[in-house]
């Protein structure tokens, strides 16, 4: 039993009532999928890996919204604002100080800037007692205002250092993420970038699992379920919301940096209303109270959207809208939790002695 108990102790921090998959079969499946994902570039080549990396980048963005909206009840329509702020910051820093070292440092600096932006906005909202709907509207408005701002930076007066902001045309030629100093530096492209993003996604996913199943996670969920009662029990709901919003900003920022270095490009469309709402679609469809759901839905929907637009169909966005409507009306808890419930129900039917009924995340 040595291996088994070692395993249990290993996954213990990541298990709890707030996530799906608290069983050995789940973790075994998880490991198998993970091995498959790591092997993907080897099996399908670097081009496929490079395309797939974008889905992983988006999945990180989806996780940031899942923790903010699904677990804490703050519907932020502005996750892409922090995504974009970090992406632009990364581009500006790495292009201005083009050395391997500064490109490496641009990653944390850009993420910190996005986090600060989230904290400032969050402070005004949560310490100003802005309620539910207004938070959503304000985050959306901030994003749209950033869109207006970036779109009008076409003139040469909008130059930061040596880099032009470029208005609608955006900033091209953003360097790849780089690690190391001088001649020993490694720039991440294609497969290497894919692996790096996969590791980041894994770390963020497991980190968030540990967070939402820990004491702070319980407090987040309590704040979502009943703000007043949570406050009455001695929790500082505003502080909880601010911290989660800041964390969401940081994760969205991380995703934004990866995005900018993936396409070597960033433009004001990242602040546009369409892009702003896509994370909401992913998280709703996958199951907003499920981190795994956010990842699965993001990869699935983005792959699907890619197939549709690759075939030149104009109906891609209509299909996305219809999927979203169907999800909200008929599968409000999300696809992944629904599948899990179906699987559990089937298993219970076969197993008359249902020894381990998992607690459902609610």
């Amino acid at each position: 039993m040595g291996v088994g108990s070692f395993f249990d102790r290993l996954v213990e921090p990541f298990e709890g009532p707030n996530t799906i998959g608290n069983s050995r079969p789940f973790w075994i499946g998880f490991a198998v999928v993970l091995v498959g994902l790591f092997g993907y570039p080897i099996g399908f080549g670097t081009y496929a890996a490079s395309s797939a990396a974008l889905y992983l980048v988006y999945a990180i963005l989806a996780l940031s919204l899942s923790v903010v909206w699904g677990y804490t009840g703050i519907l932020s329509f502005g996750q892409v604002a922090f995504f974009g702020v970090a992406g632009y910051s990364f581009g500006l820093i790495s292009l201005n100080l083009s050395s391997a070292l500064t490109t490496m440092l641009a990653l944390p600096v850009a993420v910190i800037l996005a986090t600060i932006a989230a904290f400032v906005l969050g402070y005004f909202m949560f310490y100003g007692d802005v309620r539910n709907v207004y938070v959503t509207i304000l985050t959306l408005v901030v994003t749209l205002v950033l869109n207006t701002f970036m779109a009008q930076t076409a003139g040469s007066e909008w130059t930061i250092g040596t880099v032009q902001l470029g208005g609608f045309n955006g900033i091209p030629a953003i360097p790849n993420l780089t690690f190391g100093v001088g001649g020993t530096a490694i720039a991440l492209d294609d497969a290497a970038f894919y692996w790096f993003t996969l590791v980041v996604l894994l770390v963020v996913y497991l980190g968030l699992r540990a967070l939402v199943n820990g004491r702070f996670g319980y407090a987040m969920v309590a704040a979502r379920e009943d703000e007043d009662r949570t406050a009455m029990l001695g929790y500082d709901v505003r502080r909880i919301k601010l911290l989660v919003f800041g964390l969401g900003g940081a994760i969205a920022g991380l995703s934004g940096v990866l995005y900018a270095s993936w396409g070597n490009y960033i433009s004001p469309t990242v602040f546009g209303i369409t892009f702003a709402s896509i994370p909401v679609v992913w998280v709703t469809v996958g199951g907003r109270r499920s981190l795994l759901g956010a990842v699965v839905a993001t990869v699935g929907l983005e792959w699907f959207r890619q197939q549709l637009s690759a075939s030149g169909s104009q109906y891609a966005m209509i299909v996305v809208g219809v999927i979203l409507l169907i999800a909200i009306l008929f599968v409000p808890e999300g696809v992944v939790p629904r599948v899990k419930n179906v699987v559990l129900a089937a298993r219970n039917r076969f197993q008359t002695t249902s020894d381990s009924v998992e607690s459902t995340p609610e």
């Binding site: 749209l144 205002v145 701002f149 809208g321 409507l325 909200i328």
Partner: protein, 291 residues
């Protein structure tokens, strides 16, 4: 700067904000639902107007048709989607946003990326070396008339009384014989119709394209945020305040700074005033009545 110029610009800005926000404010104020597809409802009104006007219908009639189309669409959407989501605020926002997405792309597929424009009617007012579009002045007048009309509807009609009873307390209203479900449906239809009216009115002044709805969003949302829960008072006051701020800053520094100034006003207003301008107005009224 000519003071008359500035006055016209403030009036223009006021009209834009009030008309952009009023449909959104009615639905939000009465039903607590934020229609994130509001911009696309406006787009539908504009398309209805422009297409029928291009087909040879006189402009006022085309506008009425634009309003009608949007109202009917609102009815269908309320019956099929929104009514299932009344107690699920955030879900209703996401669902209306999804509808907006479908409407935008639907318009693009049906009518292409642009359609022929209707020209702005009514010519110009000349004063000294300046001139100003008569139609834009008319828009400000219409904005005032819309507010006045809503005021009359909500205070002087049976519908208004039932509607206000439903906002105050849906359960009691229902117990007293008000069909609250029908109230919600008609409110959504009225709100949609008002969005359609905005689209119809601005169709001759803007390029009518599938994505045009988003140009109304910032103003509409900020106005609702600042206005607070009371529909009429809130929209009127925030339209006035934001109209001045927006036109001043847009005039001095450009569109972006106009928006930034409004956004900052909204953040400050929320920070200081819990219930927006409505709350402030109520406080002042209470204090005056108390003395």
């Amino acid at each position: 700067m000519n003071p008359l110029n500035l006055l016209f610009q403030v009036a223009d800005s006021f009209a834009f904000i009030v008309l952009a926000a009023v449909g959104l404010a009615v639905i939000f104020g009465m039903m607590g639902v934020i229609n994130l597809g509001h911009g696309e409802f406006i787009m539908v009104g504009a398309y209805g107007t422009t297409l029928t006007a291009n087909a040879g219908l006189p402009l006022p009639l085309a506008m009425a048709l634009g309003v009608l189309v949007t109202a009917v669409m609102g009815f269908v959407i309320e019956r099929t989607v929104v009514q299932h989501l009344y107690d699920r605020l955030l879900d209703s926002m996401v669902a209306t946003w999804a509808l907006g997405l479908i409407l935008t792309q639907g318009a693009r597929i049906l009518f292409g990326n642009s359609i022929p424009q209707v020209s702005t009617p009514l010519g110009y007012i000349q004063y000294g070396p300046y001139s100003y579009s008569t139609y834009r002045v008319l828009l400000a007048v219409i904005a005032l008339l819309v507010l006045l009309g809503l005021y009359l509807v909500f205070t002087r009609t049976e519908f208004g009384i039932r509607a206000r009873a439903t906002i105050q307390n849906p359960d009691t209203a229902q117990a007293l014989g008000v069909n609250t479900e029908r109230m919600y449906t008609s409110t959504f239809v009225v709100g949609s119709g008002l969005a359609g009216l905005t689209g119809a009115l601005y169709a001759p002044t803007l390029t009518v394209v599938p994505g045009m709805g988003s140009s109304f969003l910032v103003e509409a949302f900020i106005s609702v945020v600042i206005g607070g829960p009371s529909v009429l008072l809130g929209t009127t006051l925030s339209g006035g305040l934001l109209g001045v701020i927006n036109s001043l800053f847009t005039n001095l520094y450009g569109t972006f700074f106009g928006q930034i100034a409004m956004l900052l006003t909204a953040i400050v207003a929320i920070r200081i005033l819990g219930d927006g301008l409505t709350g402030l107005a109520n406080d002042i009224r209470d204090r005056l009545e108390g003395e």
